[in-house]
């Protein structure tokens, strides 16, 4: 169980929480649709 806890702690440490209000950037391509989706 000691080994398991260590692994769990590392995994938690790697996950950096996003700041409040963070909006992930849109994917670079394809771009926005101007008229309608085909």
């Amino acid at each position: 169980s000691v080994a398991n806890r260590a692994v769990a702690e590392v995994a938690q440490h790697d996950k950096v929480p996003h700041p409040v209000g963070f909006v992930p950037p849109p994917p670079p391509c394809p771009g926005r649709i101007r008229h309608f989706k085909i």
Partner: protein, 253 residues
């Protein structure tokens, strides 16, 4: 240490949009039949640096057909994109461009246009008319009848057909043929054309007066024909009127 390569351009970056604007303008300047196209989406962009202030750009664009025929002098920004319900036509284009000292130019382009799926349209609008082949007999009959009808009613210049741009047929609840076609004024009045239509010739390029007509012919349950033509007024540059029509689905390079 060498400088890190620049971050790749996103499709919505201002530089991408500037390149797309140049590309769409180039494509529309080189359309010889049908309608102008407007940008719907930048699908992809790749930039290959060639040296100082010199890049090659590969663009993939999705375009949509507008309601402005290429003979229509309306600026593209004022042209309406055809709605999905009007059985839209889209264009997929691959463009190779050069950006030299900040100036963009098109090196090569290849576009393929095709109508949207009929099945998708029918799902949303079961009774909507669908695009049909421009050489369809009913379409040719409608266009001929409509132009004859218009010429018989006007005292102005006798109009000749330049090309059929679009045609749709609706089967339910009535049988209706919708068509759109470009026309040009001749050197004859409609009255002169009645005497000898063979003498009526299109005006020279520098005096050309083009126009655009829409016609609707109902054949069931009753018969009816309506036609509306508008002349654009005198224009300087003209396309080659030698070919009648160019249906969607053709590659152009």
């Amino acid at each position: 240490a060498p400088a890190a390569p620049p971050a790749p351009l996103g499709c919505d970056d201002p530089e991408s949009e500037a390149a797309a604007e140049v590309a769409v303008s180039y494509i529309n300047d080189n359309i010889h039949h049908g309608y102008y196209f407007a940008l719907n989406r930048i699908e992809n962009i790749r930039v290959l640096p060639q040296g100082l202030n010199n890049d090659i750009i590969f663009l993939e664009l999705e375009l949509l057909e507008t309601t402005c025929h290429i003979l229509n002098p309306t600026p593209l920004e004022n042209c309406t994109v055809r709605s999905f319900m009007d059985h839209a036509v889209e264009g997929d284009c691959d463009i190779k461009m050069q950006r030299l000292d900040g100036k963009l130019s098109v090196l090569a382009s290849k576009c393929h246009s095709h109508a949207d799926s009929s099945k998708d349209l029918i799902k949303v609008c079961p009774d909507c008319p669908l695009l049909t082949n421009l050489s369809n007999t009913e379409v040719l009959t409608t266009v001929t009848a409509a132009l004859n009808h218009y010429n018989s009613k006007t005292a102005d210049a006798y109009l000749k057909l330049i090309e059929i741009g679009r045609a749709k047929i609706q089967y339910h609840p009535a049988h209706v043929v919708f068509s759109e076609f470009a026309v040009a004024a001749t050197n004859c009045s409609a009255a002169e054309a009645k005497v000898n239509v063979e003498n009526c010739q299109l005006l020279p390029d520098d005096q050309s007066n083009f126009g655009f007509c829409t016609a609707t012919m109902v054949t069931r349950p009753s018969q009816d024909l309506t036609v509306d033509c508008k002349l654009y007024g005198h224009q300087v540059s003209t396309p080659d009127p030698g070919v009648f029509y160019c249906p969607p689905g053709q590659d152009t390079a």
